[in-house]
Every structure is written in C-alpha cells, then in structure tokens.
Symmetry: C2
Subunit: 223 residues, 2 copies
DNA sequence: CGACTATTTGATAAGGATCAACAATTGTGG
DNA sequence: CCACAATTGTTGATCCTTATCAAATAGTCG
C-alpha cells in the first residue's frame, strides 16, 4: 500500500511499530494540490494533521502589515502543522504549494491518539519543535548582527544542503527567507556572481562553489 | 510538602493526577542559586529537567561573535530546559539567575518517564514549545519591518503584562531582548520619557502609561 | 573613597530600505 | 501563433535608521 510507504518515509512516523503504522495508515488520505494552492491559511481551524507526500510546500508567517517570513520549506515526509493538532488556539502560519504537490492528511483526533500513546512519536515531535526553535533563534541573532550578504550566504547554503543545486527559488522568495527586500537580494547575488560562487537565471540559482558558502553556514540549522 | 505545591503551581505539572504528582514530587529536589550564577551553559550536557521555584532566570542564546539574545525570562513555575531532556544533542542556550533564586530539578529519566506516559503533560509541553516558536517568528518579523522604537514598545509591553511595573531591567538587558544596542535603547527610552509614557532610573523602568504601549503590542506574544 | 556598572549625549558613517524606471522572460487568450 | 499581460530581474539615486566610537556623568557597592 502506497500510504504506509509514505508514513514510513516520513519524519514523524518512521521506525514505528508495524501495527501502529498500519492502523495510522488506514486513517490517512491523500490530497493533490496545484501550484500556488493554499493548504491552510492563518487563523484557520485545524482538523487534520498534514504532511507532504510529494512536492514542496512553503510554510510562512505574515505580519499585519504584509511582511512574510518563510520559516520552512517542507518536502516529502515533512509535517506541515505539527503544533496545531495539540493546540486549540488558531495559528499564524500559512502553507502553500510551491509546485504541484500531494498532501497526506489524517484527522486531528486520530493523529493525537497515535502520537500521545507513542513515546517514540512524541520524542520525535519535541525534537522537531526544538530544532525549529533553535533555527528561529539563530535567525534572530543573524538579523541582529549579520549583514544581508552573510544572511544570504547562510540561507543559500542551508537550501543547498537540503535541496542540492540548482535551487528553484526567485529572489522574492529568497528575500522572504533572508528577511530583506528583493532588491537587496539581487544586489547581493550580483556580488556572488562576480566571484562565480553562484550563477542564476529567472527563478533558479546554481551553487557553483559550495565550499565558499560553507564557511558561513557551518553552525546552526536554518530552514 | 513544599515540593508538590511547587509542582502544582508549575506550568508543566499543574492540574495533574494526584498520584502521578506525588510520584513526581518524590524525585524532585530544590537547589538555591545566587544572583548571576549560571544554571546551565551552552553545549552542556543535560541530566536534569529544571524549573524555577523562586526568583527570575534569564534564558538566552549567544552567537559565536558574542551577541546575546534573551529569549525567555522565566519566573516561578516556568521550565528552563523543556527540550533538552528529549534531545540527545547539546543545546545552544544559557540560563542565568537574575537574582537569588531557587531551582527545582528532577533527573532527566524520571521527567521523561512522567512526561511520555502522560498525554496531559505532553500536550502542555507541545503547547509551550508552540508558543515559543510563534514568539520567535514574531520577533523575526519585527526585526524585518519594525524600527527600534516599536520593538522596544512591544518588549516593554510584554514585560509589563508579565511582571507589572516597575520593571527591574537595565538598558543592556533590554537591548538583549529587543535585538539592538544599549545606546539605541537609551535614546528610544529618552523619547518615551519625554512623552511621559515611562520613567526610568538605574536598572528600573516604570510604565506610567500602559495604554500608550498597548496599541503596539496587542498581537503576538514575545518573551 | 575607589572601582565598577549604568546612563547619557554627540558626531559620524554605513548599510540597506525605498522609490523609480526599465529590460527580459514567461504565460495567456484570442 | 501573435499580442499583450504578468512576473522576474536589474540598476541607479536618495535618504533614513541605527551601529559605532567616544567621552562624560551619575549611581552603587564593598
């Protein structure tokens, strides 16, 4: 069955007892979404636990004045709303398909049952949330003390480590990750191009010299 | 017994079954720390779950270049290292007593046993971590689009909501919360004083007009 | 009192946001 | 298939915020 394969490859449910896995798989359904489609929006009520089964999904938060901060680019196997099922209050996050994608979803109650009765799942959940907190704090510190150039280096390196090269992101999307404007990203990328560390064309960034980026991004996670 | 009272008043263990509470209390010990003492440091191994029993404890992360970002000011009942017991890898956070304080500690294994076998505790843990993530993301957005003045407003309002007035923080400490320099905080506070929204003296900030701050800090949590 | 820490104010410089105009590429409907 | 719309990339000029450096004052504590 396809679904249990998806669960086995997921971060949250991998290495789980076969019987629990089978029971969980029975509750899980797949849903296809198109490029640009919203999977959930801010302040929306949560009734399903969601994971990416195929494709890429951008998870971001918006401010009242419209600024966006991309906080996770989830790929196959990664959860989209780990907190919401546990938390009654609505969350500020938005999830949107970056390309055509498939989402695996399971009713909130079934997820909670499975999770809360499995120390293994709960440990994984806390570990994932812990990494998210570390990552966010690391980005706050970067905003404090690092210039746009260096923040871009680190973002590119993190993306490269996760997705390889080429990276299919627009400057606008990178700006959302780095916490700056499109123009500043472009100028900064121009400098990187001159040093032939990267090459870029519309919606695509190729990392030509990963070693050059590496020295900025060794510590801490990001994205 | 004093310890079970502390647990009952704590965020993580409150409203817990009496028998579990009693069992947990038996494993818990108190430890007094002096002003300025480190309760744990970055990259230190975690062998105990820790909570504040009395006093205030600052939890912050440092960067390699020495910048600090205060990320929680924990008071009575608040946990200091919720993630570490679940996570084998060392964490980047530091906890330091802001004044004389008492810490409640319980061996990591006992905490894990209690937590993982109690859906109630685990739900609380995830909710706390969720708020921490929201808070951190909100601060990233603030760093992106808000000026120092407004960030200080929000920080002061959050602190006021949690601790009331007067607030016993130095400009240096506020700078660590807001993500800027001491000088900028001082200048910004000067402007607030002129409008008689606050008053301040060495290590102390009095909020004279909370309503004036409120309009900046309604949404999102912070600290 | 002396050492230390915190506050205050000024001058300067630089990073980057903002505004604006334009070019290049991709997508769409007739 | 072409014309037009929409998105993305590019560059320049300007201005504002705030970091940085510096120096002086004022509390606090042993």
């Amino acid at each position: 069955m396809q679904i249990s394969a998806i669960l086995e490859n997921s971060i949250v449910f991998s290495r789980l007892d076969k019987t629990i896995l089978a029971k969980t798989a029975k509750k899980t359904r797949l849903r296809t979404v198109e490029k640009g489609e919203y999977i959930f929006r801010e302040q929306e009520e949560c009734d399903h636990f969601l994971m990416v089964a195929k494709g890429l999904v951008k998870v971001y938060v918006t401010s009242s004045s419209g600024a966006r901060m991309t906080y996770l680019i989830a790929r196959e196997g990664e959860p989209l709303n780990l907190i919401a099922p546990f938390d009654a209050s609505p969350r500020p996050t938005v999830a949107r398909a970056m390309g055509d994608a498939v989402i695996a979803q399971m009713p909130k109650e079934d997820f909670l049952n499975a999770a809360l009765s499995s120390p293994q799942i709960m440990s994984t959940v806390v570990a994932i949330l812990g990494r998210a907190i570390d990552s966010a704090n690391s980005r706050i510190i970067d905003m404090m003390e690092k210039k746009v150039d260096e923040r871009l280096f680190r973002a590119l390196f993190s993306l490269y480590r996760k997705f390889g090269s080429p990276l299919n992101f627009t400057s606008h999307e990178l700006a959302g990750l780095v916490g700056t404007t499109t123009e500043s990203i472009l100028r900064s990328m121009g400098r990187l191009k001159k040093q032939s560390i990267i090459d870029s064309s519309r919606g695509r960034v190729e990392i030509k010299d990963p070693k050059a980026l590496e020295k900025y991004g060794i510590d801490s996670l990001w994205i």
